[in-house]
């Protein structure tokens, strides 16, 4: 599969403030990429640079192998769906969609057919004459998507398109969005702050933090091999614990020594350890391999309990699951044990 989008050493500053610093990644043709990260990490700036709405301070954007860094938006063959949808409120759904169909590629006869086609694609065939105010949030989002897809762009850029919808509608539309993208085959880049959404939709997840690239890869790769404690925490939802290297394949968390952890670091070196919630078990505090912790809260999480406890060594908050009916309550002192094989170790304190 060839690369459709190549972002090379991209940086952007606003009034001396760096919004993006030396970001590089590639999106294969036809892939669905998600830019994910907390608020202010630069993901929307990056999307606007891809759209040609902002010019980078340095670096390059290649679209299908050609330098598009300074190309205006109209010449990039992109469709954009904005967070607010930016639907024109005085135009009907069909008129909104037709707004982007202009020039010699779209004679009047083809326009109507294309409008009908994309309306059918997003499942709104009967609503062509409705104005945005007469449509629900989900329907507006579909019109925005249809409008972006109508001119048959080579790239589709989505800026948090689902964030304004309630969770129920969002879930349904997420699946539909993925389906439409697969059917059209358009290379897509979507911005989201919701890592669950990114993992559900993307072929490629690009994780940004404070304007820098943390990791780019498939959802499975990110979940199984998070490159940094931030990715482990933000994307994989793992517990990040302060630890110290010991001799051999051993590490210590406070006074608790855990064997069977490969780290390759000098004894005494500070470490960050990432443990998946599924591999974090609650046990008796008296067991030798258990880290003592005090329970702060117990919440219902579907068919099990989510226990939030603070490790006595280092004070890190740990999240773990326990079966429904487990005799654990806020204030209890418990033991937390980790599966040594599944722990990921990073040099340096969290």
């Amino acid at each position: 599969m060839s690369e459709a989008i190549d972002v090379a050493s991209l940086s952007k500053t606003f009034g001396g403030q760096a919004a993006l610093s030396d970001v590089s990644f590639s999106v294969p043709e036809g892939a669905f990429a998600c830019l994910v990260g907390p608020s202010g990490c630069g993901k929307t700036t990056l999307l606007r640079i891809l759209a040609g709405l902002e010019t980078p301070s340095s670096g390059q954007v290649l679209l299908n192998g050609s330098d598009a860094t300074r190309l205006n938006p109209a010449s990039r063959s992109i469709g954009v769906v904005f967070q607010s949808y930016a639907l024109f409120p005085n135009l009907t759904a069909a008129q909104n969609i037709a707004f982007g169909l202009h020039g010699k590629d779209w004679p009047r006869s083809n326009k109507q057919a294309r409008v009908d086609e994309v309306l059918a694609l997003v499942g709104l065939s009967g609503l062509a004459k409705r104005k945005p105010v007469q449509l629900s949030g989900g329907q507006q989002q579909r019109v925005a998507l249809a409008r972006a897809l109508a001119p048959r762009p080579r790239f589709l850029l989505l800026d948090e398109p689902l964030s304004a919808l309630d969770p129920h509608v969002r879930g349904a539309l997420r699946a539909e969005l993925k389906d439409i993208q697969r059917r059209t085959g358009v290379t897509t880049v979507m911005v989201t702050h919701d890592q669950e959404e990114a993992l559900a939709l993307a072929d490629l997840v690009v994780v940004l933090r404070a304007g820098r690239l943390e990791q780019a890869g498939s959802p499975r790769h990110l979940l199984e091999q998070p490159a940094t404690p931030f990715v482990a925490d933000f994307v994989a939802n793992m517990n990040i614990i302060e630890a110290r290297a010991e001799s051999g394949e051993r590490i210590s968390i406070g006074a608790t020594v855990i064997a069977g952890v490969v780290h390759g670091l000098a004894p005494g070196a500070a470490l960050s350890v990432a443990a998946a919630q599924g591999n974090t078990r609650l046990t008796d505090a008296a067991l030798p391999a258990a880290c003592p912790a005090r329970v702060r809260a117990v919440e219902f999480a579907g068919r099990q309990l989510r226990v939030i406890a603070r490790l006595e060594a280092g004070g890190t908050l740990i999240r773990a699951h326990a079966p429904l009916g487990s005799p654990v309550a806020s204030g209890d002192v418990i033991g937390v044990a980790f599966d040594p094989q599944s722990l990921r170790v990073y040099a340096g304190a969290p």
Binding site: F82, S84, P89, F99, Q134, L157
Partner: protein, 549 residues
């Protein structure tokens, strides 16, 4: 350079040219003229003129009536606006309409009503004993009536923006109504109060009608310019006085803008509307007070209407239409009324389009920040220039044979240009807020679709802003019909205007025809306003909202 950038640049150049011709050029000519034609043509000469005892006295008088009118009008308007927004007043629509009545008539009409009621032959003269309406007291009363709607508009808007949650929180904390008024209501309308007071101040010191009709021998700056230019033909002195008048209004405008920039939003997306509970003492007091004020405002118009159809007020009140036979009197006759309508129509259409085009360029396009900053400054500057000063500045600028635009002098075009410029700022602020309410991503979305900004402007932003566009056109129309100060030096033999005719007929002793002409202006404005409201209702119903909440 692509077509879009070229068009943007061209529009910026055109608007810059407009401000150059309508504001920067004339004001420069005014400054230059105030320095010239004296004994030595120096700045010392200007200083000498500005320290002329007569001018100093007039300046003091202007500040006095300005400040007093401002205090009284703001207090009354706050009371009335409070009644309209925070009390359970019956017939609120009628009270609201009554509060706007003086806006539809020239400010002279309130002064004429005072003459009819309290003048030498006034209806209520026998009850007044030795007291006289002529002098500062007449100017203040006439201006309180004339400027009341301006203050009311500002304060009503400020009081309407109330967050019900704050009052509920106060109630839960056991705070009294009075303490909530002092802790929540007043701080919430602080900017509105400053704004209303300054607007009234600026309007009062620039007003020429009331001082001319009921001022007696009380000198004010506006009258001084008028006398110097039209009476004594001393243009240099007129220019000096016009400059002197610019200082307090520019200062007032500066303070108003500063206060506006410090005002934080009174409402958030989570605000809840204020639900008014019955409160007998408050509602009775408000009903009584508002009824008295409304009766006063309606009374002014009623008195003028009555006097204009009375054979010889107050001795023979039999019905006659002879005062409406305008062609029998000096002032321009019915033609003047036709000219005024023509001026109002051109000003309304031209002004609304120009204001929106400029506001769009400033709000929705990005390049040329310095030029846009300058244009933004000019858009606000016009409110700081009193009408008489602006009118006189136009005389100096356009009546100069060396000026390529000299041909405009004495034509309808110069009247339209001057009127649009004089009323520019308020229209600009309302157009800007209408455009700010649109989703800022519209232009970005269009750019992503390869559509130029003017396509979004023509197909989306302007159509959605139609109600604001119509409001702006109505604002220009009504003001063009009533204004005197900005056009009084500029009309020619073929472009005499109705509002100026009121002034001239009163000056010539034809008081009843002056009142009749004033009433004709009132009725035309009323008809246009009603028609406008009808159209607005339909347009609002048909345009769907695209506002960002």
């Amino acid at each position: 350079m692509n077509a879009e950038k070229f068009i943007q640049r061209l529009c910026l150049v055109l608007v810059t040219l407009y401000f150059g011709v309508s504001l920067a050029g004339p004001l420069t000519a005014l400054v230059v003229s105030s320095l010239q034609s004296g004994d030595d043509g120096s700045a010392a000469n200007l200083a000498g003129r500005l320290t002329d005892p007569r001018l100093v006295r007039a300046a003091g008088n202007s500040l006095w009536v300005g400040a007093l009118t401002s205090a009284i009008t703001t207090a009354l308007a706050l009371f009335y606006a409070y009644g309209l927004t925070r009390a359970r007043l019956p017939l609120k629509g009628i009270f609201a309409a009554a509060g706007q009545i003086p806006l539809l008539a020239p400010s002279l009409l309130s002064a004429l009503a005072l003459v009819y009621l309290f003048g030498v032959q006034g209806l209520l003269r026998p009850w007044m004993g030795e007291a006289s309406i002529m002098g500062w007291q007449g100017i203040v009363i006439a201006n309180v009536i004339a400027t009341f709607p301006h203050a009311l508009l500002v304060l009503r808007t400020a009081l309407s923006a109330s967050d019900g949650r704050l009052y509920e929180a106060g109630e839960l904390m056991g705070r009294s109504g009075r303490s909530m008024f002092l802790a929540v209501t007043l701080p919430g309308v602080r900017h509105g109060l400053v704004s209303a007071a300054l607007i009234v101040f600026m309007l009062t010191i620039a007003d020429i009608g009331a001082p001319k009709v009921v001022g007696g021998s009380f000198d004010v700056l506006a009258l001084e310019i008028y006398e110097q230019v039209l009476g004594q033909q001393d243009f240099a002195m007129g220019a000096a006085v016009a400059l002197a008048m610019l200082a307090p209004t520019a200062l007032a405008m500066g303070i108003e803008r500063w206060a506006a920039s410090r005002q934080s939003a009174a409402l958030s997306a989570r605000s809840t509307p204020l639900v008014l509970k019955p409160h007998l003492a408050r509602d009775t007091a408000m009903l009584t007070g508002c009824s008295i004020i409304a009766a006063g405002l309606v009374g002014v118009i009623a008195v003028c209407q009555f006097a204009s159809v009375a054979a010889f007020w107050p001795y023979d009140v039999s019905f006659t239409t002879k005062h409406y036979d305008f062609n029998r009197f000096d002032g321009g006759g019915w033609q003047a009324l036709g000219n005024s309508v023509q001026l109002a129509v051109f000003t309304a259409i031209g002004g609304a389009l120009l204001v929106f085009a400029n506001a769009y360029l400033l709000e929705k396009t990005k390049p040329h920040r310095v030029v846009r900053g300058a244009l933004s400054g000019f858009s606000l500057l016009s409110a700081a220039v009193p009408g008489l000063s602006l009118g006189l500045a136009y005389v100096f600028f356009f009546n100069n044979p060396a000026n390529l635009l000299n041909g405009l002098y004495g034509t309808m075009a110069i009247l339209v240009l001057a009127t649009i410029t004089h009323f520019y700022t308020v229209a600009h602020l309302s157009a800007t807020s209408a455009l700010k309410a649109l989703d800022p991503e519209f232009e970005t979305a269009a750019a992503a679709m390869g559509r130029p900004f003017w396509m979004v402007a023509a197909r989306v932003s302007f159509p959605i802003s139609t109600p604001a566009l119509i409001e702006t056109a109505l604002y220009f129309f009504v003001n063009a019909m009533t204004t005197v100060s900005v056009v009084v030096f500029l009309y020619g033999p073929h472009t005499k205007l109705a509002s100026v005719a009121v002034l001239n007929m009163d000056d010539a002793g034809d008081v009843a025809p002056a009142a009749a002409m004033g009433m004709m202006i009132f009725y035309i404005n009323l008809a246009v306003r009603i028609a406008g409201e009808t159209v607005l209702t339909r347009v609002r119903a048909s345009t769907t909202r695209g506002k960002v909440s």
